[in-house]
């Protein structure tokens, strides 16, 4: 068990072990649980840093565990997996801090943080998966780990949300299983390789490959909330704020989008998929989802469902980037994976703060909240503007690359789609900002803020500020070689046949 094999396993174990220990902690041992949580997330952060440094030096990290005679569980760290694992680890640390603050006096916290850590293990497993079967295993584990989080409050509508979430995800998972088994029986081991395993395989009959592609995309599309399969997302807003932040920005939704990226780039290979003609329908569905999500978001008076529909449309940017053949669009798609994560998680943290501190759930109640919660609303504004695509913030970069990519692949109609959706984004975010900053406060909460005291619990305040700052930094210093954009460029080069 050399170091290069042990590191990925250690990254997985750091949250798995803490999770299992937390499960059996008594409810009252708050300090021990907090220490365990933070140390688990901290160790993972350090290990991922070591991993990135190692890969940067050119070292390859791979752990292979035999599962069945012809199938192996493979954890492999390549550029694409590093992008997602670093995103999820950073955001995980931040969400853990936020969740500790948010759930200060609620019951069943040991159970919550136990499943919380299982969730991160599954997400990191998805990120580091080296073949389609390992991906599937962690993908299903993610469903099982997020279900109890969704049901955490135990209220009637959170149980209903859990039921609906399960129906969608288990059905999607079943189709995915059939697709993977079928592909495995045709094409043998499905290890992810840079330009796709099936790229050279002209011996397989194209129609079967199209059917399998459909199965895989539907399987992943459920979690990536593509239009016909997005029903569970707005309903699962009944979960507590850290879980909504987790579902939308880091774990579930990204797992689906990441799955589609893996399938298009590392299983089929983007040129081979284009030759099969499967990318165009994917682009069409993604575009429809973008517009549909934004339109529905317009009519949501409650803040969290509005953000939910905004997520549905934003995630489809990533899929759109994947579906357009061309390195520039690929960069746009992949870098949006990170940027959308940062911005969306900030928005949800702020929504959580509003609900937790002032009991605001609806946009109509947000008049003049900027004066009462200035720091939170600054973070909210940065993230919202980033979503719209206003320059210095990260969102602008991904939309720019997507637009350029669309022009490269001479698909002008995609540019129109991007313009429309940006306009719609503005249409549902700007009124919120206007209400918060320029309207007099009408809510029952106290107008002025006593000086000296934090506007809310520090654990609820820090996370949104950190993620908003990151979004801003990644926007301003996009060209630095450590930034997500640089990583995305590195990935894009690798994915195309020289």
């Amino acid at each position: 068990m050399t170091w290069s094999a042990a590191l990925p396993l250690l990254i997985l174990a750091s949250s798995l072990v803490t999770g299992l220990v937390i499960f059996f902690l008594k409810e009252q041992s708050v300090l021990l649980r907090t220490v365990l949580n933070l140390s688990g997330a901290g160790i993972k952060l350090i290990l991922v840093g070591v991993l990135m440094w190692g890969v940067y030096q050119g070292q390859t990290f791979e752990a292979r565990l035999p599962l069945l005679p012809d199938i192996e569980l493979v954890l492999h760290a390549d550029a694409l997996s590093l992008l997602f694992v670093s995103l999820s680890t950073v955001l995980w640390f931040v969400t853990t801090v936020y969740a500790i603050g948010y759930l200060e006096h609620s019951p069943h916290r040991s159970r919550f943080f136990g499943f919380f850590s299982l969730c991160v293990t599954a997400t990191v497993g998805i990120a580091l998966a080296g073949n389609l079967i390992t991906f599937l295993i962690f993908y299903e584990l993610l469903t099982l780990a997020t279900y109890p989080l969704l049901m955490h409050r135990g209220t009637a509508d959170s149980r209903r949300a859990g039921r609906i979430y399960l129906t969608y995800t288990l059905a999607g998972g079943a189709l995915l299983l059939v697709g993977v088994v079928w592909l495995k029986s045709l094409a043998g081991p499905l290890d992810f390789t840079a330009t796709g395993i099936l790229a050279g395989r002209t011996d397989l009959n194209p129609d079967t490959l199209r059917w399998i592609f459909l199965l895989l995309i539907v399987g992943f599309g459920v979690k990536a909330a593509l239009v016909p399969l997005h029903g569970w997302l707005p309903i699962s807003m009944a979960a507590p704020a850290p879980v909504s932040a987790l579902l939308h920005a880091v774990a579930v939704v990204k797992a689906g989008a990441f799955g589609i990226t893996r399938v298009v780039y590392d299983v089929y290979g983007v040129e081979f998929s284009a030759s099969l003609g499967v990318l165009m329908p994917l682009a069409i569905v993604a575009s429809f989802t973008i517009v549909y999500g934004s339109v529905r978001a317009l009519f949501q008076d409650k803040l969290k469902p509005r953000l939910a529909y905004s997520t549905i449309s934003q995630v489809s940017y990533i899929i759109l980037g994947t579906a357009i053949v061309g390195p520039v669009a690929t960069i746009g798609g992949i870098v949006h994976l990170v940027h959308q994560g940062l911005m969306k998680i900030t928005l949800f943290f702020c929504a959580g703060n509003l609900a937790e501190t002032l009991g605001i759930h609806r946009v109509s109640e947000m008049n003049g909240v900027g004066r009462r919660l200035p720091k939170t609303m600054v973070a909210f504004t940065v993230a919202a503007l980033g979503m719209i695509g206003v320059p210095p913030i990260a969102g602008f970069i991904s939309k720019w690359y997507l637009g350029a990519g669309a022009l490269d692949a001479n698909l002008p109609w995609i540019l129109v789609i991007l313009a429309i959706s940006s306009a719609l984004n503005a249409a549902y975010f700007l009124p919120i900002l206007y209400r918060a900053w320029f309207m007099p406060a009408t809510g029952a909460w106290q107008e002025r803020l006593e000086p000296g005291r934090f506007e809310t619990h520090w654990m609820l305040l820090m996370p949104p500020l950190v993620t908003a700052a990151l979004a801003l930094l990644f926007g301003l210093f996009a060209n630095m070689d450590g930034s997500p954009l640089a990583w995305a460029r590195l990935i894009a080069e690798r994915e195309y046949l020289r």
Binding site: L68, G154, G162, L170, V178
Partner: protein, 482 residues
């Protein structure tokens, strides 16, 4: 050495049953020692198999046609290990469950006799010996069902007894026909001698019907839900996990040795259709069940349907091996998972005093360990990774897709989703808002019982992490298919 290990597997529980009958006072030690000896015997056989391949033992020293022979290959040892692995936690659970109760002193000799019958059945390679072991297994299972003494248990036991006896007589009639035709009872000799004549077809048909009745396949399953639902918890675990597998094991052995390759497709398709019917019907009944133990019992009916799916898939050339590994792995994973489920359900019933699902929420939240065990076992029953059930479902799916059997793929997927339907119906109990009604006072449940169900459930989980050791063991002396 093989002789010592295999004798240990059969003699230890038999001797324990007699001792427990004579002096039922010191029950704990004797029963636990016997089950441990069975496990040790099975492990010893596994080691011997690794070194020197499949073994044959002629009991009484007489050659094949005359005496009874024991055949020890990968399949046998896997089944013995299954019996030992499931038997051990069940015994620990029963120690507390039957502690002082009057019914307790009869449980132990019956359980030991059942274990003897199982081990003798798995080892045997002789048609008539199988009849006697089937009879011993069936009668001890029925006797165990009557232990709770309730009216429902007695009715269920009687129905179970009648169906079991009819099944055995059908099987015996098949044996009589085979003996009349070939004059030999040993399977190894019969394999060379039989050709597809009418007599062999009718005999196999009768034996198959008898065995399908005893392994409760779909249209002939009516006795199972009531029997498993109303029996005491450890007994239901033994019944669902082990007893029904015994009859199916014999069917599997007959399928390899006696069924001529030229089996008309129609027969295996009919069996597959029965399996599909079992999966759909059983799952729907489980979703509608009002009592927890009935839900788990109907889940057994549904999961047994998967076993019957083996027949249409096994005739599929090189995919046949994937089907065989799938079905055997399914038997082992289902045994562990279903055993753990019944033990967990038993914990909930003892704590709450009842097991109707509607008002079980507070109890579910008061017993986190049992609910956790039920959840892990549920993951294996649904065939979701990382569990043994997933490996079995994967193998069966790849056999089905490889051989182009798309109906079976649809059936398996529908089965998985339906099972999620009733499993999450139970799991959502531990999340419901229980603050409202007052905390009901719960009967104390021993820690050992809760940890026994968790141990069994985690074995089902571990089976999913690395299937290679089990598959290597299984492939020793694996009867080639087709």
């Amino acid at each position: 050495m093989t002789l010592w290990w295999s004798t240990l597997c059969v003699a230890a529980p038999l001797l324990a049953s007699v001792l427990l009958f004579l002096r039922p006072k010191r029950t704990a030690g004797i029963a636990l020692v016997a089950v441990t000896l069975v496990l040790i015997g099975a492990l010893g056989l596994a080691v011997v198999l690794h070194d020197s391949g499949p073994q044959f033992i002629a009991i009484g020293g007489w050659g094949a046609p005359l005496g009874i022979g024991w055949r020890i290959d990968g399949l046998t040892v896997t089944m013995l290990l299954m019996a030992g692995i499931v038997g051990w936690p069940v015994t620990i659970y029963a120690l507390d469950y039957f502690g002082g109760a009057a019914g307790g002193r009869h449980f132990w000799p019956l359980w030991m006799l059942l274990l003897t019958a199982l081990c003798a059945l798995f080892l045997s390679n002789d048609l008539f010996n199988w009849y006697v072991t089937l009879e011993l297994l069936g009668l001890s299972a029925v006797a165990l069902v009557t232990l709770s003494g309730k009216q429902a248990a007695l009715d269920a036991a009687q129905r179970y007894l009648y169906t079991g006896l009819v099944g055995s007589l059908f099987y015996l009639l098949g044996v009589a026909l085979i003996y009349n035709a070939y004059g030999v009872l040993d399977l190894a000799v019969l394999r060379e001698v039989t050709e597809p004549t009418l007599a062999v077809w009718v005999a196999l048909g009768l034996m198959a019907v008898g065995l399908l009745v005893k392994s409760a396949l779909f249209p002939l399953h009516f006795w199972l839900p009531a029997a498993h639902g109303s029996a005491p918890a450890p007994v239901s675990a033994i019944l669902s996990a082990l007893v029904v597998k015994g009859a199916f094991y014999i069917l599997l052995r007959l399928w390899f040795d006696l069924v001529p390759a030229a089996l008309p497709g129609a027969v295996s398709v009919i069996l597959g259709a029965l399996g599909a019917g079992a999966i759909i019907w059983g799952s729907l009944q489980a979703i509608r069940a009002t009592r927890l133990k009935m839900l788990v019992a109907y889940s057994t009916v549904a999961q047994l349907g998967y076993l019957a799916l083996f027949f249409p898939l096994s005739g599929a050339g090189e995919w046949g091996n994937a089907a065989l590994t799938g079905v055997v792995y399914f038997m082992v994973a289902h045994a562990c998972a279903k055993g753990a489920m019944f033990l967990a359900a038993g914990n909930l019933q003892r704590a709450a005093g009842h097991d109707n699902l509607v008002s079980l929420a507070p109890t579910a939240q008061a017993l986190p360990v049992s609910m956790f065990a039920f959840a892990i076992a549920g993951v294996s029953i649904m065939g979701l990774p990382p569990s043994g059930g997933f490996i079995a479902k994967w193998s069966l799916l790849s056999a089905a897709i490889g051989s182009g059997g798309w109906i079976w793929v649809v059936v398996m997927i529908a089965g998985g989703l339906l099972s999620a339907g009733y499993i999450f119906r139970v799991l959502s109990l531990s999340f419901s808002e229980s603050g409202a009604e007052p905390k009901p006072e719960l009967a104390p449940v021993a820690k050992s019982s809760e940890w026994a169900s968790l141990l069994l459930a985690s074995i089902a989980l571990l089976l999913g992490l690395n299937a290679l050791p089990v598959l290597d063991l299984l492939s020793i002396g694996l009867p080639r298919i087709g």
